[in-house]
Symmetry: C2
Subunit: 194 residues, 2 copies
């Protein structure tokens, strides 16, 4: 049945995503993925030409989805300040829900092919913030500033503040209350007077 083939492909993607979410790319070896998907290692290669291709697909898919969410959310707010706050809040909240996955996609180094895909995703991401900053500067809501540097600082601030601390273990960890809101305040203050 051709349906089963679709299902298998989906199961592989899902299993790989789960493993990356739990332990980063390092935990997603082909044998681990195949085991989690209930298939043999060889079977993986009937669905993906290489491990890198599998990882790239996971990454680009997740990133483009997140970028869509971000664009939609910013479109809803009126002022640039609100847009910025909403974007940081949304991204922060969503990243918190899947910390290790976010870490893997944002920061964890891997082989060159995946790295290239990461760079592209990172740029798509940064573009959302850059557009938003440009608009705010044009409107006079934000003072003139280097949007590239500011965008990098914003991404870095919440990456560090809520994604990084998890790197080694898989602790659920009671997050500091209002963590995301605090980061929002930090970023908004920085942008409005940077």
């Amino acid at each position: 049945m051709e349906q089963r083939l679709k299902d298998n492909r989906e199961r592989i993607l899902k299993a790989a995503r789960k493993l990356v979410a739990q332990g980063g790319f390092r935990a997603a070896s082909v044998s681990a993925v195949s085991k989690a998907a209930g298939l043999s290692t060889g079977a993986i290669y009937r669905y993906f030409p290489s491990k890198s291709a599998l990882m790239v697909e996971i990454l680009t898919h997740a990133v483009s989805h997140e970028v869509d969410v971000l664009r939609e959310i910013t479109a809803r707010a009126d002022s640039s300040t609100d847009k910025l706050a909403a974007a940081v809040r949304s991204f922060g909240t969503r990243a918190l829900e899947g910390r290790n996955l976010a870490y893997a996609f944002i920061a964890e180094p891997t082989d060159p092919e995946v790295e290239a895909a990461r760079i592209v995703g990172r740029e798509d991401f940064g573009d959302v913030f850059k557009d938003l900053l440009h608009e705010g500067i044009d409107r006079g809501e934000f003072p003139a500033q280097s949007v590239d540097v500011t965008a990098a600082c914003i991404v870095g601030a919440f990456t560090e503040a809520l994604v990084r601390p998890v790197a080694p273990t898989t602790l659920p960890e009671a997050a500091e209350p209002d963590l995301v809101e605090k980061i929002v305040v930090f970023c908004v203050a920085a942008v409005r007077r940077a």
Copy 2:
């Protein structure tokens, strides 16, 4: 001669540091280190119980040195705002001088032992900023805020803005002019909540 033993140990550390600075931990294999140090792979194990131990020593040594520099620099400024600016500026400038080394120490994932050392160093680092923030809040220079979150955001902001972009290759890359100053402005504005 016992002096030669000291020298060998030092040469190993130096060679390893250089390799990490050039290509991250990934480039610092035992055989590469031994070659660079002019010794055999086996010899490394007369001086260090494992590769991890060698890397941990490099990391903790470098971090404690950087923390010293930071403490000294902040001690020289008067206002908390100046201390903060000086700390961010100094750390940023120094990190830029050795981007890959900074990247490896701040962000590149490795084995659990090195990771543990990194976390400790990261905390020592954060403490400098936290002390500084507490003082500024007490003096009324900064509004009340979560020093933990703010410190993380600051470290993240410049990590992302000047260390990360280097991750894959060893490009010298003309850095954006005044990059460090822009980051300083960003961080100061964020902390002062202006």
